[in-house]
């Protein structure tokens, strides 16, 4: 409904952060640049419609707030501590809802502003953009014609077919979600579709927008058109842009851009990226990221198809707790100095994680870091026969240092069960590989592999609630075990959600529910949403977050009863559905339950190695 509200009067909207007491950039030039961008991005450009709305940003990160540029006073006060960081947005309180009231009157003023004077800097930007555009149309495809692109970039073989996509074709524009990464100097780094080289002028336009708004001491955050939402995220020297027609909320899209940023960090570390760009502003980061497009592509596909990212929680494979414990024990026994995490994965879902004791005392593994690791494994699955040893950074754990990951499948050639061992020692390959052999032997002895092979995700029918088609349940940390990895559980998607389109449709509905629940302007605790072909109920409490999908004919009362039953079932199955650590932290080894105690004696000598990293 916010969306409808938004669309009725606004053709395009730009949301910009406004610092306290600031002069506004000429809105008309911005509108012109936007329409130019529109030319690049949108199938039917709306540039003739100068009803572009420039939204000054206010703390409420909401679609509702079309607060106009003509109201600096309003923003000035609310912006005393204006920051662009996502964290800030997330902690924003809903108190500014009243801004919405100002919306209709602002629009008129806004339209008027578009006809007013044109600043010099603005003219420059327009010229520049026009030039870039010409170049793209003329010689865009493979050429290195753009002045924004330094001559002598690395040899860049075009291996992947979707990299060869014609970026001027309609089919390219029709993609549901584009993601672009560029450097502050406007150099292309990554594009989800099409070669980033062919898109260098489009990216130049994006950078021009960013820096144009920046020159007015503002920060561009998003642009809305009827068809698309454009979201900008600036992280250090990198600019990430998402152009989406998926109707997701700006916040969700920005969250996804953040995952992309983290994946890049996981390969290069934040420190090295900053160092490189400090040293050379126009560095071509593709030199360092070459070959990792697959990893970013894979991440974006996962983000679209796997609700783990939306929920910021990890999905673990349901497993009898006895089997999970025995696997943890196996991992616990196979250790070597400087080993910090042992992770067992089956079909891209967690079986178990064992952490080094000092690590778990200091911090915990964040779901996002686990997602990045899982994506790395999924994306490099072509090399399933060997043992891989690679540096990897866990950006939420520590964005500036590397771990060394040992990745090997335990069941070639099927390659469903994957072992991931993380060490802090670059030279530890042989000793870590030896751990794998120990684990392998123990698993053969206990016949673990065939037990794992039999494990399946569960069907919603096991819950025994008619009308319930699907659900996602994410328990929150309770104070006693706040060290636990955030997890969620969800049954297989079954009919009518068996086709890819239907799965995506259900996920879209969940995303919509999620955006409503987590709306910063008007967060909700409970939503009962009757959609066209199903009924959804989302409920968030201090203990859990729950999304359920029912058949369309369910009644409200029915749904509530069903949820009570579902919660009871989850409680009963908890040990199977989640990786459960003992509720209380203990330093004494407790091998049957604890995944941490057992290492304490042997690992003491390694503490130094680990701490020196931090």
């Amino acid at each position: 409904m916010e969306r409808d509200n938004h669309q009725e009067g606004v053709a395009e909207g730009v949301k910009i952060c406004d610092p306290p007491a600031e002069s506004n950039p000429p809105a008309d030039t911005l509108a012109t640049s936007l329409s130019l961008l529109g030319n690049h991005m949108f199938p039917d450009p709306v540039e003739r419609n100068y009803g572009t709305t420039v939204n000054r940003e206010e703390p409420v990160d909401s679609l509702l707030s079309d607060v106009s540029a003509e109201e600096p006073s309003l923003n000035a006060e609310s912006h005393s501590n204006q920051v662009t960081k996502l964290e800030t947005e997330e902690t924003e309180s809903p108190e500014c809802q009243n801004n919405v009231a100002t919306q209709p009157s602002d629009r008129g003023a806004q339209d008027a502003a578009t006809d007013s004077d044109q600043g010099d800097s603005g003219e420059f930007v327009v010229t520049m953009l026009a030039k870039a555009k010409l170049e793209e149309q003329g010689l865009g495809m493979k050429g290195r014609s753009s002045p924004l692109l330094e001559a002598g970039t690395e040899e860049y073989p075009a291996f992947m077919s979707h990299r060869d996509e014609d970026v001027t074709a309609d089919s390219w524009r029709q993609h549901r979600k584009h993601v672009f990464v560029l450097s502050e100097a406007g150099k292309p780094i990554y594009s989800r579709y099409g070669s980033e080289e062919a898109l260098s002028s489009t990216m130049g336009v994006m950078m021009a927008l960013v820096s144009f708004v920046q020159s007015g001491d503002n920060i561009i955050r998003s642009v809305y058109s009827e068809e698309n939402t454009v979201v900008f995220l600036q992280k250090g020297p990198l600019v990430l842009v998402c152009v989406s027609s998926s109707r997701q909320s700006e916040r969700q899209l920005r969250g996804e851009l953040l995952y992309v940023y983290y994946q890049i960090i996981s390969m290069l570390t934040q420190a090295s990226i900053s160092r490189i760009f400090e040293h050379k502003k126009n560095y071509d980061l593709r030199r360092l990221l070459a070959g990792s497009e697959k990893i970013l592509d894979g991440l974006l596909n996962l983000v679209d198809s796997d609700p783990s990212f939306l929920l910021a929680a990890v999905h673990c494979l349901p497993l009898a707790s006895s089997l999970r414990d025995s696997l943890s024990q196996i991992l616990q026994k196979a250790i070597t100095p400087n080993l910090v995490f042992s992770i067992l994965i089956a079909r891209n879902q967690l079986l178990t994680i064992v952490q080094e004791k000092t690590v778990i005392e200091d911090t915990r593994l964040e779901p996002a870091d686990v997602h990045l690791l899982l994506n790395l494994i999924g994306a490099s699955s072509a090399f399933q026969a060997g043992e891989i040893w690679t540096p990897i950074c866990l950006p939420l754990f520590n964005p500036d240092c590397y771990f060394y990951a040992y990745i090997s499948y335990l069941d070639p050639p099927e390659c469903t069960v994957c072992l991931l061992l993380l060490s802090t020692d670059k030279e530890a390959f042989y000793s870590v590989a030896e751990c794998k052999r120990k684990i392998e032997e123990a698993m053969v002895a206990q016949n673990s592999l065939s037990l794992i092979a039999k494990v399946q995700s569960y069907s919603v029918s096991q819950v025994g609630v008619s009308d319930l088609r699907h659900f996602m349940y994410k328990p929150f940390d309770v104070p006693d075990n706040y060290r636990q990895l955030t997890q969620f559980t969800s049954p297989e998607m079954e009919a009518p959600y068996s086709s890819e389109e239907e799965k995506m449709r259900l996920l879209d509905l969940y995303r919509y529910m999620h955006s409503r629940i987590h709306s910063t302007s008007r967060p909700l605790k409970l939503i009962y949403h009757v959609a066209e072909r199903e009924t959804l109920l989302a409920w968030v409490t201090s203990k859990f977050e729950l999304y359920t999908c029912f058949s369309p004919l369910v009644t409200k009362a029915c749904a509530i009863t069903a949820i009570t039953k579902l919660l009871r079932w989850i409680k009963k199955e908890e040990d199977r559905l989640f990786i459960r650590y003992p509720p209380k932290y203990s330093t004494t080894p407790n091998p049957s339950k604890s995944s941490r105690g057992g290492k304490s004696d042997q690992q003491d000598s390694t503490d130094n190695g680990f701490l020196s990293l931090l």
């Binding site: 070959g291 690679t390 990745i407």
Partner: protein
Amino acid sequence: MSTRKTSLTDKQTKNGTSKYVLERCASVNEYYDIAFKVMLLGDSSVGKTCVLVRFKDGAFLGGNFIATVGIDFRNKVVDVDNLKVKLQIWDTAGQERFRSVTHAYYRDAQALLLLYDITSKPSFDNIRAWLTEIHEYAQKDVVIMLLGNKSDVAAERVVKKEDGEKLAKEYGVPFMETSAKTGLNVELAFLAIAKELKHRATQQPNDPKFQIHDYIESQKQKSGCCSLV
């Protein structure tokens, strides 16, 4: 595949080096007498992984390019003069960002296969830089072989065979052109390495030295258009 060393015989100690360890493996399918570490080096996308897969599985990884992440460790046992030689092969990522981790394992390698792509001039030009790195990080007596890969793509060739030969001669390393796609010379490259290493490891003081250059030349003639079986 568990490899358990049940007995260790060290034939080499009389020569003063103990790094070529004769190993016996318990498991039947993994039986071998002697093991060596071989590393594949070269720029990104010259075909290191494809050469390895061709050698190991006799297949060609066509179509999609998937960059190797970090380093990838694999084994293959070959027969050399009735001796089972296990080649432990490091397939490395060509990308710069993995350099630090590959450097750490250079010195473990007894042989290095250095690859360039005959359709990419930069990959050939970088060979000198690679050789400099090798001299910096690898063992002094490491066996090096230069390979010009993708020889099947004659139409796109930009590096002449003679250029490769000249460079190899300058550095005194054996050279051949290979094709992971057709399999040309791939097996030969690994076998020549295995032979050389095996000779070094088992050589008696007054045995004649194994001439890898001559061996390659003789085999290359024979293979001509198709690979060794």
